[in-house]
């Protein structure tokens, strides 16, 4: 499909049209000036000045808390599957790539998670290519790039006066054709300009050595270095909760009398409770084992099981770590 074009001034009209079919989440600035993916109401002014969002958009597919089903007096009620059509506009390519990674866990494996599957089916993702990466970005080293739309349905590329829109999936094609009266064909010169911008962004991103990590980590399980790389970790869950690919969860029953609900909640491998057995034994008793798991999961097991690292190089964990830990440094120190 050829690229379509819409001017920035017409973008609100396009979003308004999409709102007729379901919820549209797009970047709005909160009271502190941060862009947050927020459900649009009629006259919201979206902002495209952000580099990325504080929180990853994984919660659209895997909410931090999700009621799986309710039960009453021993009887299970129908599971509450998400049923709203949704468009998420402005997801950065790294985060879209992360959704593609999550698909491998929740859809493509031997598990087909009905909650995730339904949310994914109902959600159209419009990614927005990056032109101003951060110094903590390293998407190009983990199979992505500032103009890579994988995982999204539509890729938008920003020009001075226009947005170029490129459908990447049948869902994306349907979305664009539903608003085709608002779109023009993009001139080849505009497409070239957009691609030049992406290339310029790509050149700003410093590479990190990740190639062959699975092989190198397969010999590193007993490395004494795990203790030293993890010693300043405080054991909070900031890195996991902000990570667009971290997807481990816990399941609890919240019961009062005869009624209750089964809830799925994000969990985090940095927490002592994560692997605590009922017996009181904990096979990962210290930050050493927890960091080993974090790195092994992302850069070895994920590659062995799903063919790609479970890190998209968004850099959130680097920017937000309370003690300034940097996953790039950890990888280097451990010899990846």
């Amino acid at each position: 499909m050829t690229e379509k074009r819409i001017s920035h001034t017409d973008l609100p009209r396009l979003l308004a049209r999409l709102r007729e079919r379901g919820a549209v989440h797009a970047p709005l600035e909160d009271e502190t000036g941060d862009a947050v993916l927020t459900e649009l109401s009629s006259d919201d002014l979206i902002s495209l000045r952000y580099r990325n969002f504080r929180l990853s958009p994984k919660s659209f597919l895997l909410p931090q808390n999700q009621v799986l089903f309710r039960f009453q007096d021993g009887k299970e009620e129908e599971p509450a599957l998400p049923d709203r059509e949704m468009v998420v506009f402005g997801v950065r390519p790294c985060d879209a790539k992360a959704m593609q990674a999550l698909d491998k866990v929740f859809l493509d494996g031997d598990q087909n998670d009905p909650y995730y599957a339904r949310a994914r089916e109902k959600t159209v993702v419009i990614a927005l290519a990056c032109t101003r990466p951060l110094s903590s970005c390293f998407c190009t080293s983990v199979g992505g790039g500032p103009g890579d739309g994988a995982g999204a349905d539509v890729l938008a590329l920003e020009l001075d006066a226009d947005l170029l829109l490129r459908a990447l999936t049948p869902g994306g094609e349907r979305l664009l054709s539903s608003v085709r009266d608002l779109l023009c064909d993009a001139a080849p010169s505009a497409v070239k300009e957009a691609e030049d911008r992406v290339r310029a962004a790509e050149e700003q991103i410093a590479p990190v050595k990740v190639d062959g990590s699975a092989q190198r980590l397969s010999n590193a399980y007993d490395s004494p270095l795990w203790a030293s790389v993890s010693q300043k970790c405080l054991g909070c869950g900031t890195c996991s909760f902000l990570c667009p690919t971290c997807h481990c969860f816990d399941i609890t029953d919240e019961v009062r009398g005869g009624t209750g609900r089964r809830v799925r909640t994000w969990d985090c491998c940095a927490y002592p409770l994560f692997t605590l057995h009922g017996s009181g034994h904990n096979p990962r008793p210290t930050p050493k084992e927890r960091w080993r798991q974090r790195i092994m999961h992302k850069f070895r097991y994920a590659i062995e099981n799903f063919g790609r690292p479970f890190c998209v190089g968004c850099g959130r964990c680097i920017r937000s770590c309370p003690v300034g830990m940097d996953i790039r440094t950890v990888l280097k120190e451990i010899g990846v």
Binding site: T32, D34, R51, S135, E254, D326, T329
Partner: protein
């Protein structure tokens, strides 16, 4: 005020000497981090690596947080058998960090005799989130400070931007009244004068002046951003409980998710458990990835401790911790005669009446 690079040189020499002469097994300081406006803790064991230590306005982490885990008592007899003797630890302390160490000594979490406390008078540290926000759409690729203490950032196009220090200092530093370490074995650099500031009091009063329902609404709005990552708890030197109430699973006392009732309990419990113990370092605020002012409640509780009992946490290692002390003339009318509290606003009263009528 001694220039920070001079202090840095002395710090390196001090750490090198302490490690070389085996006065300490471990030296806790800071080293350069990968991103500007930050440093990262350095747990140093080799004297020859002391050159990695830095001292500047980005040394924000309260290193006292690492102490309780270094001196953790063995959990059981088996662990006690294989336990190594407690280490000798050297540690760099700002005024607030020193207060945390004092409080930890008071609460018998760390043995004073195993510590070599290296104090530095602190002119305040930079809150990285604030600094980044001040730069707006620019991203700093490097940052430093000039002789006047202004923060200089080099942004992506190579231009240098000067940030006014007061604008990017951490909130806790703007409220700080004790920049000099209250306890230490040696001091690097000259004294930093204590400020007579009532910034904390003004901030608390501003919140307090609102009617109860507005306060509650503000509190709920603020914590609704919380993602329950536990960063505030983990960054807090006083949150050393072996098993946190909030982590208990037998029974599970509160849910682990972001249901507003669970988030509310999380923040209320944390505030109450640090009452009279919080040393006002602001580590929790700087650790929060969501920009929550986690000191909203603890700030007030610290003032209560000071106003009611004349107690400020972390002032003296010999003092009995506030909650362990009792005097016959302790004020208690806030318990027995709560009538002096500001009246609940009309809408809150109505809500309460409606609730009772039900």
């Amino acid at each position: 005020m001694t220039a920070s690079h001079e202090i840095e040189n002395r710090l390196r020499a001090t750490a090198e000497k302490l490690l070389r002469e085996k006065k300490v097994d471990l030296f806790l300081g800071y080293e350069k981090a990968s991103l500007p406006f930050r440093t990262t803790p350095l747990l140093l064991t080799a004297a020859e690596e002391a050159g990695r230590l830095v001292w500047n306005s980005f040394c924000t982490v309260n290193l006292a947080v690492y102490l309780p885990r270094l001196f953790k008592a063995p959990a059981d007899a088996r662990e006690a058998k294989s336990a190594t003797p407690p280490p000798k630890v050297g540690i760099v302390l700002k005024g607030c960090d020193a207060r945390s160490v004092v409080a930890l000594i008071q609460e018998r979490q760390v043995p004073r005799e195993n510590l070599v406390l290296v104090g530095i008078g602190c002119p305040g540290v930079v809150d990285a989130q604030k600094a980044e926000k001040t730069l707006g759409e620019h991203e700093a690729l490097g940052a430093g400070e000039d002789a006047q203490g202004s923060i200089r950032a080099v942004v992506e196009d190579g231009t240098e931007i000067t940030l006014y220090r007061q604008e990017v200092l951490a909130d806790a530093c703007l409220e700080c009244r004790s920049p000099m370490p209250a306890i230490c074995d040696l001091v690097l650099g000259g004294p930093v004068e204590a400020k007579e500031t009532d910034a904390a009091r003004r901030r608390a009063a501003e919140f307090e002046s609102k009617p109860p329902d507005a306060r509650w609404a503000r509190f709920q709005e603020m914590i609704s951003k919380c993602i329950r990552c536990n960063a505030c708890r983990q960054a807090c030197p006083m949150c050393y409980c072996k098993e946190c109430l909030l982590d208990q699973t037998r029974p599970r006392l509160i849910g682990a998710g972001t249901d507003i009732s669970d988030v509310t309990i999380y923040h209320l419990v944390r505030a109450l458990h640090t009452a009279g113990r919080c040393t006002e370092c602001g580590a929790c605020v700087r650790a929060c990835p969501m920009g929550i002012d986690t000191r909203l409640l603890t700030r007030k509780l610290s003032l209560e401790a000071e106003d009611l009992y004349g107690y400020r946490a972390g002032q003296s290692a010999d003092a009995i911790p506030l909650l362990s002390a009792f005097a016959m003339d302790d004020p208690q009318d806030f318990l027995t005669e709560p009538s002096h509290l500001p009246a609940a606003s009309s809408s809150a009263q109505e809500a309460e009446q409606a609730r009772r009528a039900k």
